[in-house]
Chain length 190, copies 2
């Protein structure tokens, strides 16, 4: 769990005993490609730290899947909208590649807050971070036209282009695969 502890130490100080506490509060979870960390309708019971792998976070809107974002190594992933109030989730989180996660339950997170001296501070900083990136994602989704979002995706995730099918990219851009084809043609042709 060194990668996790290293990530936490970028925000707060941890004593050696606290390193141990954290190791006990988190558990390891291997998720094969295609499996779900969180399924729609279920309650998000854990926050996950991605040690290795790639996940996508999406909403199923009447059979229309819309990918909000992709999450990778050294990022925390969770549907806070389900996790914080412990209510059923309207989103799903799926592994796109074989992934190794370190997960912490809601109850253990409360222990983390109370047992780790700067735990509350870390909780605040972590959620601020998640909050900012979520807002930025959604802002872009709201503001930027599909063609621009596609080009932003290409520059932001150049490696993913080769690793995931194009319909996931379309889903991320917010359009149908056919429309993405049109846009690609428009961009290429002129």
């Amino acid at each position: 769990m060194e990668s996790l502890i290293r990530a936490i130490k970028e925000c707060i100080h941890l004593s050696p005993e606290e390193d141990n506490i954290i190791s006990e509060l988190f558990t390891e979870l291997d998720l094969p490609a295609g499996d779900y960390f969180l399924e729609e309708g279920k309650i998000c019971r854990h926050v996950a730290f991605i040690h290795k792998g790639l996940l996508r976070y999406y909403i199923n809107d009447n059979g229309n899947e819309r990918t909000m974002f992709f999450s990778r190594e050294n990022e925390f992933v969770c549907n806070y909208l389900s996790f914080l109030p412990q209510r059923p989730s309207d989103k799903s989180i799926q592994a796109l590649e074989d992934s190794r996660l370190y997960i912490i339950s809601y109850e253990n997170l409360q222990r983390f807050y109370s047992k780790v001296k700067e735990g509350e501070k870390f909780g605040r900083l972590a959620i601020e971070q998640v909050f900012l990136s979520a807002i930025q994602q959604l802002d872009s989704l709201y503001t930027d036209p599909p063609a621009l979002r596609y080009q932003q995706f290409l520059t932001a995730y150049p490696d993913l282009v080769q690793r995931i099918p194009q319909y996931y990219i379309a889903s991320y851009v917010g359009i149908k695969p056919q429309s993405l084809s049109r846009i690609r043609k428009r961009i290429a042709g002129g």
Copy 2:
């Protein structure tokens, strides 16, 4: 500042001395209708608690104003995307009615976190709250078609319908005033 302290006490316990600390960390700001709490391009230096009034939070996207949400009595308002990293804001926050705010600077908020025993906890809970409602707003903006968003607005803010011009509602729904007219006609006619 009773309304503010009452709102904080709904989340954490405050000693009488802490009541005083808070009164000193916040300052009062009266904002006439039309004036700005935050202007695009400037850094958001304060978090505001709305004692009285109505504000709108919007982004100017190439002359196209898009209202993200309206904020009213007993709510906190702030562009955290500008406030937390102390970077220039791409959003504006404008008073739609004469408003009275209690505001706290970034520096004083850090003092709040350190001087008030459960300050960090409050910071975490407050940002969780803001985070959840922001995500819900943006989710809806992303997922729901304009006609539905308009009807949701009518049920969520029945009083605002009478108090604000229709082009602000259109801006909130995510369309032009002309299109809102069409939708209203469609809904009415059949």
